[in-house]
């Protein structure tokens, strides 16, 4: 989806972070001022401070899924909490739709949260004393909507996440996957523009996780929110992301499209992650296709540019001619030949290039 983000959107990021620092500890501000933005982890550690986020600068554009990936303790959740202002940022600037988030009064912040932000939590964060319906309606009631109106909207959300018939269940009566559906429905009830997801599927078992990822992509297909998604699962990141930010010790090591991260890891740390990833299962045809060739060279087979290579490899390999690569509208945007797939599957990884 990254290629769909137009130039105008890039000019107006929904979330913009510049040099965001989060240091835990008593003298954090003073130490940070002394260090002039250059953090020496050892000095901070000796002073009893822990660096959560170290000089994070990036932008998230409208309709984009940015996945922040990192192992536990890498500061990814802290970064998310800085952007949602659940924790105070030590230094730096965060802008939401051009508004300075850190300068907002608590009243303004409440308004922004009530109307623009939704958040999903790892352990769901549901209110145990409220039923599914009441949980989903809660953000609306907090806003002061009437009971009738909020219940009606909550029922729509119940339907959207496929929990029909369980409106009056309590969270404790639901499975993990169902609870997270409630969490998702609640975060979307106020129709926020920005959707934060903090390891939403990490507490679920693998089969349910896969199902919820599909559900997530389906919802995003319908709703087209601006999404900041935190996960420690690299495969999940690859599956969902338009762009991935990989964090280590509070530093964003690399921020790029999944294909670029796999093909061109910026640091040794990122490379280690991508090493194990089977490329054909991650990359889309788009990233290995060649410019469109003459019509006469094309076979009858057509593949979508968004198709994962692995899924179409067999078909392409049995096609002696070039295969047309088409976009969502059916226009031919490139071509691919079986030989390319063979190199891809068995050859050197550096032998091809990314065209995305």
């Amino acid at each position: 989806m990254s290629s769909q983000i137009s130039v105008e959107n890039r000019a107006k990021p929904v979330i913009k972070c510049s040099s965001v620092y989060k240091v835990f500890g008593e003298n954090a501000k003073k130490l940070l001022a002394q260090s002039n933005g250059r953090i020496d982890a050892k000095i901070f550690k000796d002073a009893g401070c822990v660096v959560g986020v170290n000089n994070a600068s990036f932008e998230v554009y409208e309709g984009e899924i940015l996945v922040v990936m990192g192992l536990s303790g890498s500061g990814k959740s802290t970064l998310l909490r800085c952007i949602s202002r659940l924790t105070d940022t030590t230094a730096g600037d965060i802008f939401i739709d051009g508004q300075d988030l850190l300068a907002m009064t608590s009243k303004q912040l409440i308004e922004v949260r009530r109307n623009k932000m939704g958040m999903v939590f790892q352990n769901f964060g549901l209110l145990p004393h409220k039923t599914v319906l009441e949980n989903i309606a809660f953000p609306l009631q907090v806003k002061g909507k009437s009971t009738d109106e909020s219940m009606k909207r909550a029922l729509e959300m119940v339907e959207l996440v496929g929990l029909d018939g369980r409106e009056n269940y309590f969270p404790r009566q639901l499975s993990g996957g169902q609870q997270q559906r409630v969490g998702i429905a609640r975060s979307l009830a106020v129709e926020p523009d920005i959707w934060f997801l903090d390891e939403p599927f990490s507490a679920l078992d693998p089969l349910i996780r896969k199902e919820m990822q599909d559900e997530f992509l389906r919802l995003q297909g319908v709703l087209n929110k601006t999404i900041l998604f935190v996960t420690h699962d690299f495969n999940e990141a690859l599956r969902l992301a338009d762009r991935i930010a990989i964090m280590k010790d509070g530093v964003i090591e690399q921020l790029d499209t999944p294909a670029n991260i796999v093909l061109r890891p910026a640091t040794e740390y990122v490379r280690k992650f991508t090493e194990e990833v089977p490329r054909e299962k991650v990359l889309k045809i788009e990233s290995v296709m060649e410019p469109a060739v003459d019509q006469s060279l094309l076979g009858p087979l057509q593949v979508s540019k968004d198709a994962i290579i692995y899924m179409v490899a067999e078909a392409v390999l049995t096609e002696p001619k070039h295969v047309a690569v088409v976009n969502d509208n059916g226009d031919i945007v490139g071509s691919i030949h079986a030989s390319k797939i063979i190199t891809m599957l068995f050859g050197q990884t550096g032998a091809y290039d990314d065209k995305a």
Partner: protein, 422 residues
Amino acid sequence: MDFLKRYPKYAQFILLLIIFFALYLTVIPSETNILWRLPALFAGVPGGINWFAEHLMYDWFPVEVYDPELEEYETSALVRELTRGFSRGVLFCIEFVREILLGGVKTIVAFTSWDFVGENEWAVWPALPWTVVLGGAILLGYALRGKGLALLAGLAIAYIAIFGQWEPAMETLSFVLIAAPVSCLLGLFFGTVAYKSRTAETILLPLLNVAQTMPHFSYLIPVMVFFGVGDHAGAIATIIFATPPMIRLTLLGLKRVSPEVVEAGAMTGCTNAQMMLKVLIPTARRDILIGTNQVIMQCLAMAVIASFIGAKGLGFNLLLALNQLRIGQALELGICIVLIAVVLDKLSLAWANKQTDYFADDNFVQRHKYGIFFVILLTICVILSFIGKLIFGGGINFFHLIPHNQGITTEPFWQAGVDSDG
């Protein structure tokens, strides 16, 4: 030496032994020796406290107050007037509930005067027939939970009425119905304050430790000094005693709310008040309900002790029964206290757990069915009590109030056990 280096603990121990024996041999046992007996440095303190309390209550900061009964101004100490005023407020609340249940004139007197009541014979609040309270309890139990609770509440109230403990039981109930909610609210308030502010917590916790370890009786004297004797003093002592566990459990419950729930509340845009009332306290409900349960239990436990400083009701009768070794009566009274405690606890629990049905499309009658039932019940029972007046004539109207010790009793059975042994 090598041994001592390897085991420094033994070295310490031996050193301490040496010091002990050195002191033992050198200190001369004599009353004048400071090392033998500490002089009574604080001897004046208890007397000082006594003087301070007396000064505070009788002499300090005299003010002119108007006495409506004597119809003239008199001088009194400020603190004394404040505490007396507070006592009157508490007493008024207790009397108000009590007179709804048992009838009386004091509430009317509070708004008019004794003369007014004396001149107008009609100016008496009639007692609620015990059948209304019985029906009301059943209805309340049914409305809040269902048949089980209705049955429990009904049996408990019926027991109290039939065994002739109605009046003292209602006196105790009126006392508890004031003390318990006040304790709960105070506990919730201080608990949330302690949760919000670390300073408040560090100040409160040692106070709670002291309050909870102090024997129950030790509250009575200061309360008596400052607030006098009577139901209000009993209620105040009870509140002081019942609040600490509520504070503690509120704080514990709030602290146990998972940080994600707090964050979820914040992200939905809760204001501070919404956060506390709609997210934190309901989520911590389990612990807070244990707190209210504790409060109710403590209140009824104090019912007996509070009778030492003038609280009327079951506790006072129990105290008398104890003094006269009337084991059967003491047993029946004890059961009454337990039943009141259990019913109140279950009702409060059911009330807190009650769910709202958002899809019910009810008309007026359906929405207010319990209210309507209660009005019907009230009418029927009042009519019944008038009929009772006709049936029993000038005797005891058993359909209205069953006077003390006029019900059935198992006392002789138990008493036989004591007497035959004696």
